[in-house]
Symmetry: C2
Subunit: 212 residues, 2 copies
């Protein structure tokens, strides 16, 4: 259905502007979402510019909108913006020196435990137990974060921390993480020159219909 | 910079239409991406309508655009659209009967191994070894898939399969998966009545600056 404004302005705008039609708006939004997902790429070189607080908030807001198993929401974030901090988390990892010009580094962390009443005794005391789905949840968090980075014209790179003991150790130590919190992914991000292109990974051979 | 068309039509369109200005377009796209991430929700009831092939292709295209550790791309997909198939994968899981009206069910699978030359001998023969990052990769795949579902006006629900042996067993058997392929997530999806609202999970207390 065309809005009144679209009808009014249709005579002069018909080819230049989207009418405020809900189907057209949805198609346009779907296209923007698809393009953003397909344009996301691992950017490994930044110009050192800082990231405005409002953009960082959007990025973290998107991250926290991820789904989580049984809605446990095991995620935590440590945001670094100081080069001396970058050095401490990269200690002994020469491969990470290329990220020293990051505008920020977000360390996506996970509480590997959950504290709540048991299913068997839902009105009883809270009990701490392992959460078997924390890794899946913070992976979805990290993907949301990367997509929000892309949407705001920045670039980022998901560098794996968990499950690699030698990568986790300096991060855990530098950030002072509690024992039940794992440094899951180290995500440098920043403004970039736009030269990195996304990979085309579409491969219909990976789709099976009905059964393998 | 305003395009010629926007300048031409600016006199009558200035309040109704976005000029074809790249900054304005980027802001509009960023807003669409953010809204889509924030509007994604777990939808558990569908109207049974089938999903057009072009939309399913978009959903799977988005899924395959996920990042993967060392670009291994361990993902595989089994697409089900037949109710008798839904019954076989839900065998013994009464909790899944609510998904019988799914327009489709996508089972996101992962090859847990990688076959390639070793780092030590890059020109040598391919060797099969475990991929320590497959779980992270297919979680990102699943999140991309959910976001594409949302963008196309459909709803979906990520139901965990891995790492639960009793949930995986009937799926593995019904789909005839090879031993090295894990059924990771079972994702029912379909058209819905739009009543399910997203959760607001924004919580600034989860953000730490500089260190924990």
């Amino acid at each position: 259905m065309l809005s009144a404004a679209a009808l009014l302005f249709g005579a002069c705008c018909s080819n230049e502007c989207q009418p405020a039609d809900s189907a057209a708006t949805q198609a346009s939004n779907a296209e923007a979402v698809m393009n953003n997902i397909l344009n996301r790429k691992s950017v490994r070189s930044y110009n050192g510019d800082t990231i405005p607080a409002a953009i960082m908030e959007n990025i973290l807001r998107a991250a926290m909108a991820a789904p989580s198993g049984m809605n446990i929401q095991p995620w935590q974030f440590v945001v670094l913006t100081d080069k001396s901090q970058y050095e401490t988390i990269f200690e002994g990892n020469g491969n990470m020196q290329k990220f020293m010009e990051s505008g920020a580094i977000v360390v996506v962390c996970a509480d590997t435990t959950v504290t709540r009443p048991t299913r068997e005794n839902p009105d009883g005391p809270a009990v701490t137990s392992p959460n078997p789905m924390w890794r899946d949840d913070v992976a979805a968090v990290t993907e949301n974060l990367l997509l929000a980075v892309e949407a705001h014209g920045l670039g980022a790179c998901w560098t794996a921390c968990y499950p690699f003991p030698n990568t986790m150790a300096p991060v855990r130590k530098a950030l002072g993480l509690p024992d039940n919190v794992v440094p899951y992914a180290v995500v440098p991000m920043g403004y970039h020159d736009g030269t990195t292109q996304p990979k085309d990974k579409w491969d219909p051979a990976r789709i099976h219909y009905g059964r393998w």
